[in-house]
């Protein structure tokens, strides 16, 4: 027997989201978007509930979650940091910026700092190539970021 360990409140939230899409299997990706934006991430238990509500297999839900880079099963940091790895940013030194973040936060891409404050990820182009290299912290965009400027960025959140 598979048991799902989630608070009733969360289960109801997920159920409501599924219901708002008529519990339709074809709306899986929309449901996952909404659920992730509500709960922050998509842990296994959440996927189990979604699968049940949409009358599909958990394996299918997991298959979809792991296919799309936007979905995450790990909670992101309070301030998620995303480094744009679009070509424009790449040729203007995004890799060095990323290396500096890794060194400064002592985590690698896909990880969250022990205090839960920062997480690090790479993005495809955010379309702000004029500002390359670009870093996003939460919804805020930092343009023309240089490796020696990242301490300053992090200080905004400390």
């Amino acid at each position: 027997m598979v048991s799902i360990k989630l608070s009733e409140n969360k289960i109801n939230q997920i159920k409501d989201i599924c219901k708002s899409f008529n519990n339709e299997k074809g709306e899986l990706i929309n449901v996952l978007h909404k659920t992730q934006s509500t709960l922050g991430y998509l842990p296994a238990e959440v996927q189990e509930v979604v699968a049940r509500e949409l009358n599909t297999s958990t394996a299918h839900v997991y298959g979809v979650v792991t296919f799309y880079s936007f979905f995450t099963m790990i909670p992101k940091g309070e301030f998620p940091i995303s480094i744009c790895m679009g070509t424009a940013c790449y040729v203007r030194g995004a890799e060095k910026v990323l290396d500096e973040f890794k060194r400064e936060l002592k985590i690698t891409v896909g990880e969250t700092t022990a205090d839960g404050k920062f997480s690090l990820s790479c993005l495809r182009c955010v379309g702000a190539c004029g500002l390359a290299p670009v870093v996003m912290v939460g919804d805020k965009v930092y343009g023309r970021v240089a490796p020696d400027g990242i301490k300053e960025i992090l200080n905004d959140y400390k």
Binding site: V126, G127, A128, C129, G130, L131, V134, V141, G143
Partner: protein, 128 residues
């Protein structure tokens, strides 16, 4: 808002809107400003700039319409704004931070004196 029921309705609507714009352009003292508010613009501070311009023009008793618009294409020079003084051709300014915004109001809008950061429009639009 009533639905547009035919092509004739639509043509009337267009004329109405066009004449409003013409009216605006012919106004003797109305300053028109467009702020490029696409993602790069906003990321570079266009939102703050727009608020600043609205507040400051109001404070300084300059009759102006400040509207948002999409990408003008000058990503390297964001934020960018286009300023149209009464009876004059529009001018695009790039790298407009708040300080530059203030300068544009004081020098160009008030005094017709150009400031640095002008971007010549380098494209043709289709004739309407």
């Amino acid at each position: 808002m009533s639905k547009v029921k035919s092509l004739e309705d639509l043509k009337k609507l267009r004329e109405e809107m066009e004449s409003k714009l013409v009216e605006r352009n012919n106004s003797s003292n109305l300053v028109q400003i467009k702020v490029a508010m696409a993602t790069c613009g906003i990321a570079s501070g266009a939102k703050d700039l727009m608020e600043f311009l609205i507040d400051e023009l109001d404070k300084r008793n300059i009759e102006a319409v400040v509207t948002q618009t999409g990408c003008m294409g000058y990503c390297y020079a964001e934020p960018t704004i286009e300023v149209t003084l009464p009876n004059k051709a529009p001018i695009v300014f790039g790298y407009v931070n708040l300080k530059k915004g203030d300068e544009i109001i004081e020098k160009y809008i008030k005094n017709n004196e150009l400031v640095d950061g002008i971007i010549p429009v380098n494209y043709e639009s289709i004739e309407k």
